[in-house]
Structures are given as structure tokens and as C-alpha cells.
């Protein structure tokens, strides 16, 4: 996949994970997946085999120490994995090593796990398995006496699996988040490849993350990556599940819905552009979003308007005030309005919901008003992931997109570093702001960046009336539009650090 090393990879097929792993698990090796109770270890192991069958037609063997085979069959069926059918087809085999009810097995003298080894080998040969999952090792330590013996036997199993030429995933318990790798020091024998799954509360919200701690001499992305467990798609690592290099870039231009703004941007937005419009409350973001959608309607194209700030009714009322008949646009079927409270779901779930709406409805334009509402419920990092993931889906489908953002500091125009970071992943950044001028407050607009084309560098006046938004003459002598006290020069060096900054 990516350069460096001779380690062959086996793509897991788990949504997004192979992007974190830069190709997949080290092939013909064992990888330890460690996590606390409820972190999704068993599902990860099940999906490793299920995706192997579904996407690569690679049979697998599931060795279960904890849950019974029947339990796993039932749970997996609800995720759309027909394990029973795969068993009939010889693509999936269980080695059920779970404890029977009330079984007591005293130990007298020395022993090994020879029968387990024989059963695994047998199952691998019978199915021609390429993948083996063992879930989870902790259960075997509590069941047998002699931690040393078990550890030794697990080393033996791992090395036998390697000689069988299969790629295996072993799961193990962690007693607590951020505290060592596993109970019983299991990591000591599969030290080479370690993945940690976490399930933690952050800012009052459950966050599931996956982190590759180490891969034997193989490159991988570092850090924790958010994932969600979706009833339809199973494990989805956001945003990486949706990154695809489309390579092509549209050279078609479409109107923003405002002629003057089109001019400022060098002739409209590119069809595959993601536009960020930031500004405090009342500067005209929602209006611009509605005009943007209405332009699609006028051209007979579909648009999706997603509001996290207002109810549908509030939105309709506002539109009436600006002379936009949103109701009949909606009735025509060309406009779909989604109104949701950010709090009802995690950003990952909002993302999947949005992606599904995009797939079903097939809009040419999308408005999200406002992204800032999501800031209430997510970390800046998660919001950024959301935008990156969304951007990938939108660009692939050439959906022109307007994202609005409200700086958290109310008067601050450039907003939190988050806004600047998000701008780094968008193609156009339009800034709306209040300015104080000759004893009155006026609205001003400026285009801070347009990727791939020149743009008007000026600051221009904006007026809003019953017929919409009007961009007027350049405002001269405004030196502090960006914030109350930061000059543009400061912004370029701090605010948009790490982004491409303004072009032109």
C-alpha cells in the first residue's frame, strides 16, 4: 500500500479501519485487539471474519472462549451477518471453547492446550481459512490454573497460526482505560501488533475510538480514531471510511445565489466546492443558505437543507420574511429540509444519517446551518473529522455545499481556532461581520479564500431587506473586520495555520 517495509497487509474490510492501518493488518501474523468490557472487541473480531467473507471471499475460523457460538450467531444476524449460512457453505467455522454450564474441571498435574490447537488446525484445514479470530483470551486465564502455562500455550498457538499462513486477531481485556495494555500481560507474546479499542465518556458523551499502538515494522496512522457501531454498516471508523481520492476536480461553475458574491469568488463556486460561510448571528448566513438552495430549485435541481439551529417552522417563517417560498419548493420535491437537534445523536451518527440522505435523495446542493450548533455536543476534533468525512462524500458526488458557522465569541468574526481549521478543509471561506462605521453598525462581507481561482480581496458592505441580501460598494477604511482586535495579518499567521490559507 503505502511505501516502506516488506510487510504484506491483509485488508480487514472493516469500514474505515484499513485507512487507519494504511492497508490492513500485517498478513500472516497475529494482532492483539485489546479493550475494556463493552469496547466492541467481539464485534471487531466478528467483523474481521465477516468482511473477509463478504468482500474478499476469504473463509474464517472463530474461536470463542467467552460467548457461546449460538450467542454470536444470534447477535451477528442482527447486523446482517448470516453466520449460519456461511457455516453451511463451509466459509465460517466455530471452535466453541466457551465454558459449559456448571462444568468443573479440576487440574491434577501438568497439561497443555493440545486439544485446542488440534481443533483450530482442523477447522482451518477444513474451511481453507485465511482468517482466524480468538475471542477473548481473558476467559481462558480465568478458566485454567497456571498463568504461565496458558501464556506459553498462547505463544504456541500464535506461532502455529503463523505457520498455517493465516492472519489472526486475538482479543483481550483491559482492566481500565489508559492503564496498561491487557490483564495477564497477554501483550508480552504478541507485542508486535497491538490495537486498542476504547469506550470513554468525554464531555458527557460516549466516544468509541480505535488506536493502533504498534505494528511490526509497518507504517500506520497514529492516535485515536472515532468509530461508531451502526445498525446497518457495523463498525464505521469516521472520517477515514469515506476518504477516497477521486482525483478529478470540477471546472464547472455554479451560482451562489447572489450575483455579487459570485463575482467576488471569481465567477461562482466550483460545482464540487465546499464553502464555509462564517459570521455572527444576524449577518445573513441562513438567508444566504436559503438563496443557495433556491438557486438549485430554479435550475430544476435538488437540494438538501439541514438545520441544526432552528425548527422547520422557524426556518419557513424566516424565508417568508425574505420573500422565499420554501414551502412550495419543498412540495415540489426538489428541496428536502432536515431539522434536527444536535443533541439527539453523536456526530458520527449525524454523519451517517446525512450520508444516507445524500445517497437516497441525490441532491446537487447541500446546506448545513450551522455547523456551530454541533460544537455544543462534540469536541473540536470530532467536528473537524465530521467535516473531513462529509467533504469526501460531497466532493465525490460533486455536491456543491454551503456550511455555515457562527463564531463562539459572538462578536469575534474569525471564531475559534476550530472555524479556521475547518476552513482549511473547505474550498471557499466567506466571512460575514458587523462593522462600526460613522456611528452605525453595518454588515460587511469578505472572501478570505478560494481554492483554485482568484477572488476579490475587498471588504464590501452587505444590506438585507425584504428581497434578500445585497452586496454593495467596497468599504474603505475598515481595518479591523476580522475581529475586534486582530488584524488580518495576525489571522494569516495564527488563525489559518496549518491550512492552505487564502489563495490569490
Amino acid at each position: 500500500m503505502t511505501g516502506g517495509g516488506t510487510i504484506e497487509r491483509m485488508p480487514t474490510g472493516i469500514n474505515g479501519f484499513d485507512h487507519v492501518a494504511l492497508g490492513g493488518l500485517p498478513a500472516n501474523r497475529s494482532t492483539l485487539v485489546s479493550g475494556t468490557t463493552g469496547s466492541g472487541k467481539t464485534l471487531f473480531a466478528v467483523e474481521f471474519l465477516a468482511r473477509g467473507i463478504m468482500r474478499f471471499n476469504e473463509p474464517g475460523v472463530f474461536v470463542t472462549f467467552e460467548e457461546t457460538a449460538g450467542h454470536i450467531r444470534r447477535n451477528s444476524a442482527s447486523l446482517g451477518f448470516p453466520i449460519e449460512r456461511w457455516e453451511d457453505e463451509g466459509k465460517w467455522a466455530f471452535v466453541d471453547a466457551s465454558t459449559g454450564i456448571g462444568e468443573e474441571e479440576p487440574t491434577v498435574g501438568s497439561y497443555d492446550l493440545g486439544a485446542l490447537v488440534a481443533r483450530i488446525q482442523h477447522a482451518v484445514r477444513q474451511t481453507g481459512a485465511r482468517r482466524v479470530a480468538l475471542d477473548s483470551l481473558g476467559a481462558i486465564f480465568t478458566r485454567f490454573t497456571g498463568v504461565e502455562t496458558i501464556r506459553h500455550e498462547l505463544v504456541r498457538i500464535a506461532s502455529i497460526l503463523e505457520t498455517l499462513g493465516v492472519t489472526s486477531m486475538l482479543t483481550a481485556e483491559r482492566p481500565a482505560e489508559y492503564d496498561g495494555v491487557t490483564r495477564y500481560g497477554v501483550e508480552q507474546f504478541v507485542l508486535d501488533n497491538v490495537i486498542i479499542l476504547r469506550n470513554v465518556l468525554r464531555q458527557g458523551r460516549r466516544n468509541r475510538t480505535v488506536e493502533i499502538v504498534k505494528f511490526r515494522g509497518a507504517p500506520h496512522r497514529s492516535g485515536e480514531w472515532l468509530f461508531t457501531i451502526d445498525p446497518q454498516d457495523g463498525i464505521v471508523v469516521v472520517p477515514l471510511a469515506f476518504l477516497a481520492s477521486s482525483g478529478r476536480a470540477s471546472s464547472d461553475r455554479v451560482s451562489s445565489g447572489n450575483t455579487e458574491l459570485d463575482e467576488m469568488c471569481g465567477g461562482g463556486f466550483y460545482r464540487d466546492a465546499v464553502v464555509l460561510m462564517s459570521g455572527p448571528t444576524g449577518t445573513g448566513k441562513t438567508l444566504a443558505g436559503l438563496r443557495f438552495a433556491a438557486t438549485a430549485f430554479d435550475a430544476g435541481e435538488r437540494s438538501l437543507f439541514c438545520t441544526f439551529d432552528e425548527t422547520r417552522e422557524q426556518l419557513f417563517r424566516n424565508a417568508d420574511g425574505w420573500g422565499l417560498d420554501i414551502r412550495s419548493m419543498q412540495a415540489s420535491g426538489l428541496l428536502r429540509v432536515i431539522s434536527d437537534y444536535p443533541e439527539v445523536a453523536s456526530p458520527e451518527d449525524h454523519f451517517l444519517q446525512l450520508r444516507r440522505a445524500i445517497e437516497e435523495f441525490g441532491p446537487r446542493r447541500l446546506v448545513i446551518d450551522t455547523l456551530s450548533a454541533l460544537e455544543r455536543v462534540v469536541t473540536p476534533r470530532a467536528l473537524l473529522d465530521f467535516v473531513i468525512a462529509l467533504g469526501a462524500v460531497l466532493r465525490q458526488n460533486e455536491i456543491t455545499t454551503l456550511l455555515t458557522a457562527r463564531p463562539t465569541g459572538r462578536i469575534m468574526a474569525t471564531g475559534t481556532p476550530t472555524t479556521a481549521e475547518i476552513a482549511g478543509f473547505t474550498d471557499v471561506w466567506v466571512l460575514l461581520q458587523y462593522v462600526e462605521r460613522i456611528g452605525e453598525i453595518q454588515r460587511a462581507i469578505t472572501v478570505l479564500q478560494t481554492r483554485g481561482s482568484a477572488h476579490d480581496q475587498g471588504i464590501r458592505q452587505v444590506t438585507i431587506d425584504g428581497t434578500g441580501m445585497h452586496i454593495g460598494e467596497p468599504l474603505r477604511g475598515i481595518s479591523r473586520i476580522l475581529t475586534g482586535d486582530i488584524s488580518p495579518a495576525t489571522l494569516w499567521t495564527s488563525g489559518s495555520e496549518g491550512t492552505e490559507g487564502p489563495s490569490g
Binding site: 471453547a97 487440574t107 491434577v108 498435574g109 501438568s110 492446550l113
Partner: protein, 101 residues
């Protein structure tokens, strides 16, 4: 008279496998005056039987009869503990009454 029946699972023809069988037969000879049956299953040759019996550790001996079934893991090198774990009849006190071979 009760007939004792055992199945011994081993993995390959190893020292441990041999020791387990020797120990099991010694215990049976010592504790059981009547007949007994010992069936040895090599999991390496018959993984399907190991699967069926849900065996993980080897050696494992299962007392099939008389009920209740008992399972003991290990090479049975500690004879006293093994006899208790397998539920073998307690030896009568005088050592002169040692069961014959």
C-alpha cells in the same frame, strides 16, 4: 458391580500423554477391584472427537460411568488428588488388602 468407564484425551504421543495413561491405569488398578474401561483419544488424530467433547486441555480424562460425569485436566501425577477428583472408591485401610493386578 459398577463398571467404571473413562475416556482419556491426549495430544500426540508425548511423554505427557504416556504419563497420563500410565497414571490413569495405575489408579484404576489400585482403586477398582472390578472391571474398568479406558479409551484413549488422540486429539491430533481425531480433532473431530475433541471438538465433539469440547476438549481444550490435554490430557483430559472424562469419567463416563458411573454418573455423574467428571472431567479432570492434567497428567494425574498426584495420585491422591487424582483419585478424589475422579471420584474413585476410597481404599480400604489395611494396606495388605491392596487390590491385585
Amino acid at each position: 458391580m459398577t463398571t467404571y468407564s473413562f475416556r482419556l484425551y491426549v495430544a500426540g504421543n508425548t511423554e505427557r500423554s504416556k504419563a497420563a495413561e500410565v497414571n490413569l491405569r495405575f489408579l484404576c488398578d489400585a482403586h477398582l477391584s472390578g472391571t474398568y474401561e479406558v479409551e484413549v483419544v488422540d486429539a491430533a488424530e481425531r480433532p473431530d472427537l475433541a471438538e465433539e467433547g469440547r476438549i481444550l486441555a490435554t490430557p483430559t480424562v472424562i469419567r463416563l460411568a458411573p454418573p455423574p460425569q467428571r472431567r479432570v485436566i492434567g497428567d494425574l501425577s498426584d495420585h491422591d488428588r487424582a483419585a478424589v477428583a475422579l471420584g474413585l472408591p476410597v481404599l480400604e485401610e489395611p494396606s495388605s488388602e491392596r487390590p491385585r493386578r
